[in-house]
């Protein structure tokens, strides 16, 4: 469904990603873990097309994305839940969700999708008229996820949805992500620092350190691996 071959990204002189290759099959749930500054967000941005590649190739459903600008990628079924949520803070909750349906041509489908999101996150239903910037952090995260789901994506990119949230909220968010994956069969790429929770959810995982993939395997294997547990799980 989604594959990266030898992807490198540079910010000026700094190499943020070096020769990263990974592949995600249709309906898979793949997690990428790594410490601060490993390049996780850069990886997501490269897939979304908002940072240019200095080398390598990204394919979505077999199509090379090199010639597809960032704003066309959602129309191909890519949805990005960015780091720090990035909701439209001066717009209402409902408008945020409506913006999520931008890639869809069919209005009836858009309305149906928004209903579906409001069923998934009932707290948003009570607040459709509220400005998104006045929501709590957890609610903003639900909105950012809901906004991405509203386009019926084929691939859902989630960049540290746990960031800055209380543990109980994190559990709830992870539970919803698992449910979304189970019920819709959407392909999920989750980037996390919280390794344990993220590894439990996934079918397969990659470990990213200073811009390189240093390990990969099933979540279970990685949790047991010496290297990973020492570096990321504090064990």
């Amino acid at each position: 469904m989604l594959s990266l071959e030898g992807v490198s990204v540079r910010y000026g002189g700094l190499s943020a990603l070096t020769d990263v290759s990974l592949s995600v099959g249709e309906g898979e749930f793949v997690t990428v873990i790594g410490p601060n500054g490993a390049g996780k967000t850069t990886l997501m941005k490269a897939i979304s097309g908002v940072v240019p590649l200095s080398a390598g190739r990204i394919r979505l459903g077999g199509q090379d994305l090199a010639a597809v600008p960032a704003q066309r990628r959602p129309h191909l079924g890519l949805a990005h839940v960015p780091e720090n949520r990035q909701v439209f803070s001066g717009l209402s909750v409902l408008e945020n969700l409506e913006l999520g349906t931008t890639p869809l041509a069919d209005r009836a489908q858009s309305a149906g999708n928004i209903e579906h999101v409001l069923d998934l996150f009932p707290i948003l239903r009570e607040r459709t008229a509220q400005l998104a910037g006045t929501l709590s952090g957890g609610q903003q995260q639900m909105l950012a996820i809901g906004r991405a789901l509203a386009s019926t994506p084929k691939v859902l990119l989630l960049d540290e949805p746990s960031m800055g949230l209380a543990p109980s909220i994190v559990d709830m968010i992870f539970e919803r992500i698992a449910r979304i994956h189970r019920e819709t069969g959407v392909t999920v790429v989750l980037v996390e620092q919280r390794a344990i929770e993220a590894l439990e959810l996934c079918t397969r995982a990659y470990v990213l350190t200073t811009g390189r993939v240093v390990a990969s395997g099933s979540g279970r294997d990685l949790m047991r691996s010496e290297e990973v547990s020492r570096a990321y799980l504090g064990a």
């Binding site: 704003q71 960015p82 909701v87 803070s89 913006l99």
Partner: protein, 319 residues
């Protein structure tokens, strides 16, 4: 003592004129505020856009002789309606050929892009005003429509001793301004396009993740701002003689109104413009002629001191 106080009639007359003039200022401010609010761009060519609108009005009414063939009022309405698409396209082209190109220079940060765009609008302003000087000369011209010297007469007390005259050209201009600002509000808040424009302003990165072409949003915004300013120009030209530098008479008003309304609040800009119009006219009641030009500045500075976020802006609006 009593004859030092302005009469009721004078006060009402001044208020009415202030409101009418203020509505046209409001439209100019809305256009400037739209470009600033969505693109975060300070457009130095705004006064020249207004000037081009005035000459467009002249070209349609006198140049093309429409004023004589279909009558001045239909010709004016036609000129006003035509100005929006014509200058929308011109704004679109200016953005595509000039503003977007320098903003997309490789390696430019967002801040640098804004600075170069700002300087570019200064250049556009110089080209437009000097181009107009070459094309139209420096002699002031006017539209010479009959309703510029006609007035609706109000009798607010019903007794016939207090009469308020509403200049017909100014009434028309105010009506057009209200309609255009209302239309823009509906566009921004009731349509998919408007929602996309506001999203592009609110969070350009997230807008891109939604599949919105943010540069295209800016282009539409610049075109709309140009079109609305040109409409204001057509309407003001009916009662205000003009030459290629006429924009300078209005830019201070526009900036003051936009700041007053709260930078970034598009509809606040309209009320900012209305207030400037009122203040300008009311000051004629109490101040000697030489000082009237300064009132706008004084009010502007006071507002900045007391409420820097503007009267209608929210201090949290720009995160």
């Amino acid at each position: 003592m009593t004859d030092l106080l302005p009469s009721l009639e004078t006060v009402l007359q001044t208020l009415a004129t202030g409101l009418l003039v203020g509505c046209t200022y409001g439209l100019m401010c809305v256009a400037l505020g739209l470009i600033f609010g969505i693109m975060r761009l300070i457009n130095f060519a705004q006064g020249d856009f207004l000037m081009l609108g005035m000459y467009f009005g002249l070209a349609v009414l006198s140049g093309a002789g429409l004023g004589a063939t279909i009558g001045p009022l239909p010709a004016l309405i036609f000129a006003g309606l035509a100005a929006i698409p014509v200058f929308f396209v011109l704004g679109w082209v200016i953005h595509a050929l000039l503003l977007a190109r320098i903003a997309q220079r490789r390696g430019a940060t967002e801040g640098e892009a804004h600075q170069t765009q700002l300087i570019m609008t200064l250049g556009i302003s110089l080209v437009l005003s000097n181009g107009a000087l070459m094309a139209f000369g420096s002699t002031p011209v006017s539209l010479n429509v009959p309703f510029a010297s006609q007035a609706f007469i109000l009798d607010p007390l019903g007794a016939g001793d207090v009469l308020v005259f509403l200049n017909e050209a100014r009434v028309l201009a105010a009506v057009a301004a209200l309609a255009a600002a209302g239309g823009l509000y509906a566009l921004l808040h009731r349509t998919d396009l408007g929602r996309q424009l506001r999203a592009s302003a609110d969070n350009p990165l997230a807008a891109t993740y939604m599949g919105i072409d943010v540069v295209w949003s800016y282009r539409v915004t610049f075109g709309l701002g140009f079109g609305l300013t040109a409409l204001a120009g057509v309407m003001v030209a009916t009662y205000y003689p003009f030459q290629p530098y006429v924009g300078l008479d209005f830019v201070i008003v526009m900036y003051a109104g936009v700041v007053l309304g709260g930078l970034g609040s598009v509809m606040g800009s309209f009320w900012g413009g209305v207030i400037i119009g009122l203040v300008q006219q009311l000051s004629t009641l109490v101040l000697p002629l030489q000082l009237q030009g300064t009132t706008v500045f004084v009010v502007f500075l006071l507002i900045l001191l007391i409420r820097p976020q503007g009267l209608f802006g929210r201090s949290v609006e720009r995160a």
